[in-house]
């Protein structure tokens, strides 16, 4: 299935500096599995933040459906 992966902040390097990219991922895969398709293993990113699907924060193991926008944030600090 096709989804859009959007990366913020320092994570953009996994899309060669781009903000977003349409990606083919296995049907019904999890956010975690989808990010691995572009080479982003969140467990190996020390300051990984959180993921959101269609503008809503979800858990990293939540499943995706066709057309979803998966967004990943690095950890941010300050205020």
């Amino acid at each position: 299935m096709e989804i859009t992966i959007t990366l913020r902040g320092a994570l953009k390097k996994y899309l060669d500096g781009d903000n977003e990219r349409k990606v083919i991922v296995p049907n019904g895969c999890t956010c975690d599995e989808a990010l691995k398709v572009i080479g982003l293993d969140h467990k190996k990113v020390a300051r990984f933040g959180f993921v959101a699907v269609n503008g809503m924060k979800v858990m990293i193991n939540d499943r995706l459906k066709e057309g979803d926008e998966l967004k990943a944030y690095p950890r941010i600090s300050g205020g």
Partner: protein, 588 residues
């Protein structure tokens, strides 16, 4: 005891007598509290009599640097300004960026204490060991930006100006102190304390330096840390877009408040997000010694500001039901010039909007009315018309007109822009913050939302979490290190202090300093009569479930809030009423 890094000197200015003197810095305090935030609070505890009127002649203003200030250590150029707060009656310390802290240090002082009151409006000029008392007849009544511009033209750009606007002159409890035009000591009415002393501005220039034991070794290591730790991608996002980037993260995370915290998230957030705002960027700026440069100068139409920071975007945007980026920049610009804290002024206006919408009291302003929101700022700063009813903040206004359930404040300080129902720990961070609702004491979303390391909708473990976050920030800000050096650790802090002061500091001592700073702030407030009864959250959070976003359906049950408070007091070693035992106070 002496340590390098410090100037070992305090400048004490008696405004009533028109005199000044210097005295040694209390090095026992410095060893226990390091500098800036912690040192200022310890001095306040020592010097301010219990029950002192915050706007009276006996309150004092403490401008405090740290041992790292004025060295090349990255992100160390800020200044702490502290006094008893007229907004809350608690202690209050603010951190202000720019260059004033470094110039105070180069003038030869760790701290400047302003006592008494000028007989008539004036300003103070400090140049190394010279102190002049100047007449401010031509400045009084002017906006902070114009006042700074006049003083900069008169004295030159190698002076830093710290000034107040009309809000400070009119003793507004939401008045701030400005420097470098768009940097503020923003919260708790610190500008009103300056106004109560008839002090329109302080300007300072220093020609000295800061001694360290081994300049070559220190410089090498400081540069290495700058390159390897500060200038890494986890920190440099602030150069790209500053705190404007928080808007999207808070929206997706379910903690972006909407229409006076009646809900979260805004489906139209893209209309005023960081990408939109940065299209209007005209320039960049950082504080003295900064390696990151978070400041963005924007111009949209005729509106200009440095920022806007996330807090101002939220309160003038979605929380006011407004989606116009030009309005947000204008709100920021006008509030800064008037010398008003955007958070407190904004929160008070959006509360008034809800009061009008719900028919409880007609303040003549509703959600979405951008022009009226700007006009209201001026009326509040000058205490004119409806503005006079709102000028003392949302706590006092709600006590008079009703609507206390949705008056978003703790101890009289208005809520920052993080919705606690999406981050339960934030409700307690606001509640136990020593100066009232502040997001800079314990930044709970860092764990509960942005890192997703701790579940947000539970009380479990939140006492320890809020303590850990608070301890870390208390010591970080006592070193006067900017929040945006997000990767700094206790190991780095201890190493920097060792390099600069010549005394060996251990990482575990950093934790001890942090705990001590939290305790001395609480001890000050305890002496003023504050206790558990004052560690509160607005009723809205317990009563009204969120309707939108990932936290939809969430409230914070009262029993959960009480549980979190119990946990926090236990971690701090306080009794069930939130009070420090005598034996703990004696160690401070």
């Amino acid at each position: 005891m002496t340590m390098t890094g410090y100037q070992n000197k305090v400048l004490r200015i008696d405004l009533s007598a028109g005199k000044h003197k210097t005295e040694p810095l209390n090095m026992e305090f410095a060893a226990k509290y390091v500098g800036s935030k912690g040192l200022a609070i310890r001095y306040m505890y020592e010097e301010l009599k219990p029950g002192v009127d915050a706007l009276g002649i006996e309150n004092k203003l403490f401008f405090t640097t740290g041992p790292l200030t004025g060295t090349p250590v990255a992100c160390s150029g800020k200044l702490s300004i502290a006094a008893k707060s007229p907004a809350t009656g608690t202690m209050n310390d603010c951190s202000i960026g720019g260059h004033a802290g470094i110039r105070i240090k180069y003038a030869g002082y760790d701290m400047i204490i302003f006592e008494g009151k000028l007989e008539k409006p004036g300003y103070i000029v400090i140049e190394d060991d010279k102190v002049k008392f100047m007449d401010a007849d031509d400045l009084w009544g002017k906006g902070s930006h114009e006042a700074e511009s006049i003083l900069t033209k008169k004295y030159g750009t190698d002076y830093s100006v710290l000034s107040i606007g009309p809000a400070g002159e009119n003793l507004s409890p939401m008045a701030c102190i400005n420097s470098d035009y768009y940097r503020q000591a923003g919260r708790g009415g610190i500008g009103a304390v300056m106004g109560s002393k008839n002090m329109k501005a302080v300007i300072v220039r220093g020609t000295g330096g800061v001694k360290v034991p081994d300049i070559e070794k220190a410089t090498d290591r400081i540069i290495e840390l700058l390159q390897k730790d500060v200038l890494q991608e986890d920190n440099t996002f602030v150069y790209d877009s500053g705190t404007t980037a928080f808007l999207e993260a808070c929206n997706d995370g379910g903690i972006l408040p909407y229409k006076n915290f009646s809900d979260t998230t805004d489906p139209d957030w893209k209309e005023y997000n960081d990408g939109v705002l940065m299209e209007h960027r005209k320039g960049k700026r950082g504080c003295g010694s900064c390696g990151l440069g978070c400041g963005n100068f924007l111009q949209i139409g005729k509106a200009v500001c440095e920022g806007p920071e996330y807090e101002s975007i939220s309160v003038a945007g979605p929380n006011a039901g407004i989606k116009d980026p030009e309005h947000i920049v204008k709100f920021n610009q006008v509030a800064d010039d008037l010398g008003l804290d955007t958070i407190s002024a904004g929160d008070t206006i959006i509360w008034a909007m809800e009061m009008t919408e719900r028919g409880i009291h007609d303040f003549g302003i509703r959600f979405g009315e951008a022009d009226k929101m700007i006009s209201m700022l001026e009326m509040m700063a000058k205490k004119e018309g409806i503005g006079a009813d709102l000028a003392d903040g949302v706590k006092k206004a709600s006590e008079k007109f009703g609507g206390t359930d949705f008056a978003m404040q703790v101890k009289g300080l208005e809520y920052p822009q993080y919705e606690p129902r999406g981050s339960w720990g934030m409700s307690m961070a606001y509640a136990v913050s020593d100066r009232g609702a502040c997001h800079m004491r314990s930044y709970a979303p860092n764990e509960e939302v942005f890192a997703a390391s701790i579940p947000p909708y539970t009380a479990e473990g939140k006492g320890q979490m809020v303590y850990n976050l608070g301890e870390f920030n208390a010591v970080k800000f006592s070193l006067c290190v900017c929040d945006f050096w997000g990767t700094i650790t206790y190991e780095i802090m201890a190493e920097l202090l060792t390099i600069v002061t010549g005394r060996e500091w251990k990482p575990e001592e950093m934790a001890e300093v942090g705990r001590r700073v939290l305790n001395i702030g609480r001890a000050f407030n305890q002496r003023e009569g504050f206790a558990r009864k004052d560690d509160t959250m607005p009723e809205r959070l317990a009563k009204d479930p969120l309707k939108s976003g990932p936290a939809a359906g969430q409230t914070i049950p009262r029993e959960a809030f009480d549980d979190m408070l119990d946990q926090y007091y236990k971690v701090m070693g306080w009794d069930e009423n939130g009070c420090l035992p005598d034996e703990l106070i004696e160690t401070l």
